[in-house]
């Protein structure tokens, strides 16, 4: 039942994602003005910040699904966790690479071992560890359980990333947007940022659903092969 439903939902997320990416980039490059301090280098924010947020958000989501799959033996939940991992890792990698491109002209260096960047790198390692662990175990149920343990243990890293700029004296700037405070950036910049965030979110839903359908097919085929052999 979920397989056909997921197939029907994919275009409803993929097409708006493409439109929002185009809109966000247009607003970010042609409407938002040049920053008086950083010049045009700041325009990296429109991909760097949404990617960083998505990397953290998808990890928490992955841990939740993995935990539900483990606790309730819910296979679809575990499959969803597996599906989220690659997209989350990709966004985390994008945030690190774009952060390096932003750091070079603003700080004069591609990388520093400050709290935020180091903890984000650890997040990427956690994602890679989750993906590798699941790939290394042939039995799907055992792979799901092992992955769930890693995902749940690693989730503590997400609040560390988020609060690192407050807890430690870091080179990385503070939060661009705070939920309970008025934003300090210009309206057009904020608009572009939020449009790109929405685009990244819709894109994530679309690709995660596509990958989930692939995982469902793979596990079904694997189960059929075992049934034929009589295992």
């Amino acid at each position: 039942m979920f397989y056909p439903l997921a197939g029907k939902l994919i275009p409803w997320f993929a097409i708006p994602a493409a439109l929002l990416f185009a809109t966000g980039l247009f607003v970010g490059f042609f409407i938002a003005p040049t920053d008086f301090q950083q010049g045009d280098a700041y325009r990296i924010i429109f991909i760097h910040v949404p990617a960083a947020w998505m990397g953290m958000f998808l990890y928490v989501l992955m841990a939740i699904y993995a935990g539900i799959g483990w606790a309730f033996n819910a296979r679809l939940s575990s499959m969803m966790a597996s599906s989220l991992a690659i997209t989350g890792a990709m966004f985390t990698a994008i945030s690190l690479i774009t952060g390096a491109f932003w750091g070079k002209p603003t700080w004069g260096t591609w990388w520093v071992w400050d709290a935020r960047m180091t903890s984000t790198l650890i997040l990427l390692f956690l994602y890679i560890g989750f993906i590798s662990l699941q790939a290394a175990i042939d039995d799907a149920r055992r792979a799901d359980r092992a992955g769930a343990v890693l995902a749940l243990v690693g989730v503590i890293n997400v609040p560390i990333i988020y609060f690192s700029v407050q807890w430690w004296n870091t080179l990385h700037q503070g939060a661009t947007i705070r939920l309970l405070q008025k934003p300090t950036i210009r309206g057009s910049m904020l608009a572009a940022l939020l449009i790109m965030l929405a685009a990244c979110w819709l894109y994530s839903v679309a690709v995660v659903l596509i990958r989930l359908r692939c995982i469902i097919l793979e596990r079904e085929q694997s189960a059929s092969r075992f049934a034929e052999v009589g295992v």
């Binding site: 010049g39 325009r43 690479i97 491109f101 932003w102 070079k104 690709v207 692939c214 097919l217 059929s224």
Partner: protein, 58 residues
């Protein structure tokens, strides 16, 4: 880009490479699975043996 073109375009090009890689790899994965599914659903034709030992000679 006020001298920052390399950094700004470099960021977006690197990001685009990731997005394209993900979509292409997913399409490829789906294609392989669909082909496997079609092959496994084809009826297996049993070969007909000539001169079967069950034939009786009259």
């Amino acid at each position: 880009m006020g001298g920052y073109g390399f950094y700004v375009w470099g960021s977006y090009i690197a990001s685009l490479i990731f997005f394209v890689w993900e979509v292409v790899s997913l399409k490829q994965r789906k294609k392989v699975l669909t082909q496997q599914q079609q092959q496994s659903s084809k009826p297996v034709s049993t070969p007909v043996l000539r001169g079967s030992i069950n034939e009786t000679t009259s």
